[in-house]
């Protein structure tokens, strides 16, 4: 059906703001580059685990920001503020529950995502660097788990963190210094709680956001891997040198299939 003139006019009006933004920033083009990508035709739900982990992380970030409005990182007030969030404040039980259970969901999805990447061989050339970044993300995620576990400030939190800090101390040479840094004082106390809170809500999430940015950039640049059983994608030619214009050495010569 041919578009009527009226319809064309409506579309132009609707899209005008996008054109305005694009002309001044190029952001629409970048968004298209990021979202509207070609992917192999034989991918499946297995390739969505990374996006699921990203969603879980964003959920943690949003619920965490709101929980920080009501949480008090002080030894005499922390447990009370958590009880207050859970039992008194409207919707507090829901948001804290999302954060608490979402933490486990995030870690589980990370492991599923990593298993998919490993079993599909998606860590191989040229995606090794993205595997490395992924491992850093896993470590950061587990650090979030370690630092967040102390914050409810109940008996479980206190003694689990005591064991965790002392485990660090058993590492040779620098272990005791790492443990002393984490603990702050002679014992787990106000310094430990405030430090873990700062690490949990500022430093580590910042690092995770930055690493996710790199991770996604590489995903977009290198494309989604075909499954190992894919017949169509194997041996596909690189286009335009595959975006390797910055190489110092000569690009490797494409091997002839024997």
């Amino acid at each position: 059906m041919a578009k009527t003139a009226r319809r064309k006019q409506m579309e132009a009006v609707a899209l005008y703001p996008l054109d305005w933004v694009e002309e001044r920033s190029g952001l629409v083009g970048y968004t298209k580059w990021f979202l509207f990508r070609k992917v192999p035709h034989d991918i499946s739900w297995a390739q969505t685990l990374g996006a699921a982990a990203l969603t879980a992380f964003l959920s943690q970030a949003i619920t965490g920001v709101v929980l920080a409005m009501y949480y008090k990182p002080d030894p005499n007030a922390a447990y009370g503020s958590v009880v207050n969030i859970t039992e008194e404040l409207t919707l507090g039980w829901l948001v804290r529950g999302m954060h608490k259970w979402g933490a486990s969901v995030f870690i589980i999805l990370l492991f599923f995502h990593m298993a998919r990447t490993f079993l599909f061989g998606a860590y191989k050339y040229p995606r090794e660097l993205n595997w490395v970044i992924g491992v850093l993300l896993l470590v950061s995620g587990m650090l979030e788990g370690f630092t967040g576990y102390l914050l409810p400030w109940d008996q479980t939190a206190y003694w689990a963190t005591a064991v965790g800090i002392n485990l660090n101390a058993t590492a040779p040479f620098l272990g005791p210094f790492l443990a002393q840094f984490l603990q702050g004082g002679l014992y787990i106390g106000p310094d430990t709680l405030a430090k873990f809170y700062a690490l949990h809500m500022l430093l580590i999430p910042g690092a995770i956001f930055a690493l996710i940015g790199l991770h996604l950039y590489l995903v977009v640049r290198l494309g989604v891997t075909s499954p190992p059983w894919s017949a169509t994608a194997a041996g596909r030619e690189r286009v335009d040198g595959g975006g390797r214009e910055g190489l110092i050495r000569d690009p490797a010569v494409q091997e002839e299939p024997s």
Partner: protein, 306 residues
């Protein structure tokens, strides 16, 4: 043969020795002395080192006329190099290098203080100072029996500073000095709270000034977390702990038992008043203080000296 040798100028191959490294070394020496002696000396030393370091680096980047006549460079280009001597680094290179340098300086100025502030307070100052705790008259500790003493080390901090000690009055040593066994309740595997294996006499419990004393019939101690077991002297008898239970230093002030800082114990030989205690600086749980494994932890943790 290299051109530089062919024209008989081999004696000039080596650049004239520079004095800048000597000035730089003097500056660094001043910095080191200043670190120990005083801040002004440190600042002056740093300035000297900076100035001479800059001159030295500039000297290194300057093309020496003869040294530039390296093998494979013909007379023509050599002459050009000599002509360039007045301006060894071109403007664009100088500007980009100095931009990078100034950026690095600013970056260091911004990041180093917060980094130091994030790390260093954990290792010195008020935060790692122990406080002495007065447990009351020594007569409240029956001879030969363990008493569970719980107390707040720092009442301002509240419950988080609650400590537990297992204390046994051993009477007097052969020299006539009062003897106490003062075990610290934290397991030396990974720091869980060790429990006495025996009935607690709750009826005889006393609570004076926040110091809670409960007699207990215990000849051994066990940890609920991972099953560490200790005998009545705190020596490990089973499970994962790597040394004997830590102890408090104690003193007797006006007839009161006063607990001081905690120290670590490799092992205890003998019992009660005649026990020989292998004493070390307080170490984190799980850290070896004796045996070959102690070489894995060569530096005592800051704060362990109390």
């Amino acid at each position: 043969m290299a051109p530089g040798l062919s024209d008989g100028q081999d004696t000039h191959q080596v650049p004239t020795p520079s004095l800048w490294p000597i000035g730089f070394a003097i500056g660094i020496a001043c910095v080191l002395v200043g670190l120990v002696v005083s801040v002004p000396v440190l600042v002056v030393g740093a300035l000297i080192a900076l100035v001479f370091g800059f001159l030295w680096v500039r000297d290194l980047f300057t093309t020496h006329p003869v040294a530039a006549a390296a093998p494979g460079i013909d007379e023509k280009s050599r002459a050009a190099t000599v002509a360039d001597l007045g301006d060894p680094v071109d403007r664009a290179t100088f500007l980009s290098l100095s931009t990078i340098g100034v950026g690095a300086l600013i970056g260091a100025g911004i990041t180093l203080p917060p980094l130091g502030f994030a790390v260093l307070p954990s290792f010195d100052g008020e935060g790692i100072a122990t406080r002495d705790v007065n447990l009351g008259p020594i007569t409240s500790f029956p001879e030969g029996k363990y008493v569970i003493a719980t107390f707040l080390e720092n009442p301002d901090q509240g419950e988080v500073s609650r400590r537990t000690a297992f204390i046994r009055n051993n009477g007097r040593t052969d020299d006539g000095v009062p003897s106490f066994t003062t075990l610290y309740s934290r397991c030396v595997h990974l720091g869980c709270p060790v429990q006495p294996n025996g009935p607690i006499d709750e009826d005889a419990k006393t609570d004076v000034n926040g110091i809670e004393l409960r007699p207990v019939l215990a000849a051994s101690f066990g940890c609920p977390c991972h099953g560490g077991l200790y005998d009545s002297e705190g020596n490990r008898t089973a499970g994962p702990p790597v040394r004997s239970l830590d102890r408090f230093e104690f003193s007797i002030v006006n007839g009161d038992l006063v607990l001081g800082r905690v120290f670590s114990v490799a092992n205890v030989q003998g019992t009660g008043a005649s026990a020989r205690i292998a004493k070390y600086y307080k170490a984190f749980p799980g850290v070896h203080v004796d045996g070959v494994e102690r070489f894995l932890y060569p530096i005592p943790t800051p704060g362990s000296r109390g």
